[in-house]
C-alpha cells in the first residue's frame, strides 16, 4: 500500500515543504533558520477514509551553520477531502541542533532595551538585502511563516515566505516579545503572493508561538 515516490517530483516536494515549515515553527527563531537541503526518500500511503500519508527522509541545514547536516524523518498526513484541517505532522530530528542560547539572549535583551518599538518593512528589500541587525527579525518571521504554512497546506499547495512586508513590535507587560508581521507568502501552484497578518510571541526559553494569524482578504487587482 505504500508507494515509493521520486524525490524530484512535486508531490514529495510539497509534503517535504510542510514538514520543514512545521519544524521551522517548532525549532526556528531569531537565531536559527532551518532549510531543506535534500529530500532523500519519500513514500506515500493511501489510508482509506483518512487521507494520504507521506513518509520522508530529509537532510536539513541551519542557514547560520551550513556546514552541519541535520538528518530528519517526518510523516505528513493530509486529511481526506479537507480544506480546513491542517495536515498532521510529526518530525524526528536526529542528533542535536546547534545551540542558539547566547544569540537568543542577546536578541532578547536588545529588543527589550529599545526605547521605541521596532518598526521595519520590506525584509529583504527589492535587491535581496537584509541589514544585519534585522536578520533575527527575518529568521523569526521565517519561523512564524512555518506555522502558517503548516496550517494552510494541502497536496495542491506549496508555500514559501516571499518577504516580510511590515513588522511592528508591540511592547508587552509580560516577558514575551511580540511582533505583528505582515508577511507575503508565495504559493507556488497558483503563483499568488498572499499578504498574511501574523502575530508572533517569542521568548528565549519558550520559543515562538503564533496566537493570531489572518490571511488579508481580496486578490490585488494590480
Amino acid at each position: 500500500r505504500a508507494m515509493e515516490l521520486p524525490p524530484s517530483h512535486f508531490p514529495a516536494g510539497r509534503a517535504a515543504a510542510v514538514a520543514v515549515g512545521y519544524l521551522r515553527y517548532l525549532r526556528g527563531g531569531p537565531g536559527r533558520g532551518l532549510e531543506l537541503r535534500t529530500l532523500r526518500r519519500a513514500r506515500r500511503q493511501d489510508i482509506d477514509d483518512v487521507g494520504h500519508k507521506y513518509c520522508l527522509e530529509l537532510e536539513l541545514e541551519d542557514v547560520l551553520d551550513k556546514g552541519r547536516t541535520v538528518h530528519c524523518t517526518a510523516e505528513v498526513l493530509y486529511h481526506l477531502g479537507s480544506k480546513s484541517t491542517a495536515p498532521d505532522v510529526q518530525v524526528t530530528v536526529q542528533g542535536e541542533l546547534r545551540s542558539t542560547e547566547e544569540a537568543d539572549q542577546q536578541f532578547y535583551n536588545r529588543i527589550r532595551s529599545l526605547e521605541k518599538e521596532l518598526v521595519a518593512e520590506n525584509i529583504p528589500d527589492s535587491h535581496g538585502n537584509v541589514p544585519p541587525e534585522l536578520e533575527p527579525i527575518h529568521l523569526l518571521a521565517w519561523a512564524a511563516s512555518g506555522y502558517v504554512i503548516w496550517q494552510n497546506s494541502t497536496e495542491n499547495t506549496k508555500f514559501h515566505l516571499a518577504q516580510v512586508k511590515h513588522v511592528k513590535q508591540v511592547k508587552r507587560s509580560d516577558e514575551d516579545l511580540q511582533f505583528d508581521y505582515v508577511l507575503l507568502l508565495h504559493e507556488m501552484v497558483s503563483q499568488e503572493v498572499i499578504p498574511w497578518e501574523v502575530t508572533v510571541l517569542w521568548h528565549p526559553r519558550r520559543g515562538a508561538r503564533v496566537p493570531r494569524d489572518r490571511r488579508q482578504p481580496g486578490l490585488a487587482p494590480g
Binding site: F10, E35, S126, S190, V193
Partner: protein, 420 residues
C-alpha cells in the same frame, strides 16, 4: 579713414542676423595687435552687435592676443578688413562645428568606455540601464546586433541581441529571460551571459565553434512592462500589464498564454489570478511578437527560457502529463546540463518534465516551441529554493549566472553537434 571703411564694409551685413543652430563654417581667429591704434580698431569691431562677433579674449592691450569667433557669413569680410589695416591674425579653428562634432564623439566614446568597464553585472539594474548595456554590447562587437522584434502592451520595445558571425539564416538558438517580471535573477543573468558569449567568441573553443555554425537570439527582458512595474510599484508583479476587458484586474500570465494546450489545467480563467491565461492564446503582444519572429525565421533548433526560483531544469510537457517523443534524449541532456551546473558551486537542479517536476501548467512557452518542431526546448528555474525566492541577494547574481551558463552551454554544444 578706417572707421568709414569699417562701417561701409559691414553695413551690408546689418540686419543679416542668422538664427544659428550650428557653428558650421564659423572660424576662430587669433589677432596680434602691434599698437594701441590696432587695439582701438578691434574695440570698434567689438561694438558692432549685428556682426555677432564672439570675443573669447577681448581686445585690451597691444601685448595680449585677441581671440574671436566669427559667424560663417562674416568670415571673409572680417579677414579682408584686418588685411586692409595690416593687422596680423592666424586661424585658430578652421570650422568650429568640426571641432564640436569631434568633441561630442570623443565624449560618447569615453562614456562608452566608462560604461563598459563600469556596468556592474553583479547588481540589479533598471530597464533603461539594461537597454543601454545592450547598445554597448552591440557597438563593441561586430557580430552582435540589437534588433527589435515588437513592442510591449505599453509600447516599450522588445529588444533581442542577435549573435551572428555570418551565413544566411543559419540554424539558431533562442534564449529568453524575465517573462515573469519579478524573477529578477533571470534578466540579470541574461545580461551577464550575453557579455560572456560576446567576449568568449574567438577565445573559447566551444563558443567559437558554436557561433561559427549557429546564430543565437537573446531576449533579456521578455516582459518589459512588468519589469518596470516591479521597479516602480510592486516588486512581486509577475504578469504583463495589459488591460482586460470587463475586469478591474490587470495583466496576463505570459507563460500560460502560448498556444499549447491553451486554457487547460494549470492556468486560471480568473483575470485577477497570477496564472490567468488571458482571453485567448497569443493575446499578449509580448508572446505574439516572439511567436511571429520564430515562425518567420523558420530555422530555430533550440528554445531556452529562464525563470526563477526552485532550481529546476525542465523539458516538455507541462500541459499534459504524457512524455514527449524525445523524452530519453531530453532527459539525458537535461541531466548532463544539471551536472555541469552542479560542478561549479554544488548547486543542485532537479531534472524532469514540467508536469512531473513542478505542476501541470498549460499554455507554456517550451510546450509551444516543442510542438512546433523545436526539439531542444528547456525551461530553467534558477536559484534559490525558497530562502530568498524572488528576492535573491545581488551577491548571488554572478554565481547564478555562471552556473546557469554552464548548463546552457552543455545544451548548446549538443544542439550544435546535432545540427550538422
Amino acid at each position: 579713414p578706417a572707421n568709414m571703411k569699417l562701417i561701409f564694409i559691414f553695413s551690408a551685413l546689418i540686419g543679416a542676423s542668422l538664427c544659428l543652430e550650428t557653428f558650421v563654417g564659423h572660424q576662430v581667429l587669433r589677432i596680434k595687435t602691434k599698437n594701441e591704434e590696432e587695439v582701438e580698431q578691434l574695440q570698434l569691431l567689438e561694438s558692432l552687435d549685428h556682426l555677432e562677433l564672439d570675443f573669447w579674449i577681448n581686445p585690451s592691450a597691444p601685448a595680449l592676443p585677441v581671440d574671436v569667433r566669427i559667424p560663417a557669413v562674416s568670415v571673409q569680410s572680417v579677414k579682408a578688413f584686418l588685411e586692409s589695416q595690416g593687422i596680423e591674425y592666424s586661424i585658430l579653428i578652421e570650422d568650429l562645428q568640426d571641432v564640436l562634432d569631434k568633441e561630442k564623439q570623443d565624449m560618447a566614446e569615453s562614456a562608452q568606455r566608462q560604461r563598459s568597464s563600469s556596468f556592474d553585472f553583479g547588481a540589479y539594474h533598471t530597464l533603461d540601464e539594461i537597454n543601454n548595456e545592450l547598445d554597448h554590447l552591440a557597438s563593441e562587437y561586430s557580430f552582435v546586433e540589437k534588433i527589435q522584434i515588437g513592442e510591449s502592451y505599453e509600447k516599450r520595445p522588445l529588444y533581442v541581441l542577435k549573435f551572428s558571425t555570418g551565413g544566411s539564416n543559419r540554424p539558431a538558438i533562442w534564449l529568453d529571460a524575465g517573462i515573469h517580471s519579478r524573477e529578477w535573477v533571470t534578466q540579470a543573468s541574461a545580461l551577464w551571459i550575453a557579455n560572456k558569449i560576446a567576449s568568449d567568441y574567438g577565445t573559447d573553443d566551444s563558443v567559437t565553434s558554436l557561433l561559427d555554425k549557429m546564430d543565437l537570439f537573446l531576449l533579456p527582458v521578455a516582459n518589459p512592462d512588468g519589469f518596470v512595474y516591479t521597479h516602480t510599484w510592486n516588486r512581486m508583479w509577475r504578469k504583463t500589464r495589459s488591460k482586460i476587458p470587463g475586469s478591474v484586474c490587470v495583466g496576463v500570465d505570459p507563460n500560460r498564454n502560448w498556444d499549447a494546450g491553451f486554457g487547460g489545467p494549470g492556468a486560471s480563467a480568473n483575470p485577477c489570478s497570477d496564472s490567468y491565461h488571458g482571453p485567448s492564446a497569443n493575446s499578449e503582444v509580448e508572446v505574439k511578437s516572439v511567436v511571429d519572429f520564430i515562425k518567420n525565421h523558420g530555422n530555430f533548433k533550440a528554445f531556452l527560457t529562464l525563470h526563477s526560483y526552485s532550481q529546476l531544469l525542465m523539458f516538455p510537457y507541462g500541459y499534459k502529463c504524457t512524455r514527449p517523443d524525445d523524452y530519453a534524449e531530453l532527459e539525458s541532456l537535461g541531466r548532463a546540463a544539471a551536472n555541469s551546473i552542479q560542478s561549479l558551486y554544488g548547486t543542485t537542479f532537479q531534472v524532469g518534465t514540467i508536469c512531473k517536476t513542478i505542476y501541470q501548467a498549460s499554455g507554456g512557452s517550451i510546450d509551444w516551441s516543442y510542438d512546433n518542431g523545436i526539439k531542444y526546448s528547456f525551461a530553467f528555474e534558477l536559484r534559490d529554493t525558497g530562502r530568498y525566492g524572488f528576492l535573491l541577494p545581488a551577491s548571488q547574481i554572478l554565481p547564478a549566472a555562471r552556473e546557469t551558463w554552464l548548463g546552457l552551454k552543455k545544451i548548446m554544444e549538443h544542439v550544435r553537434a546535432k545540427s550538422s
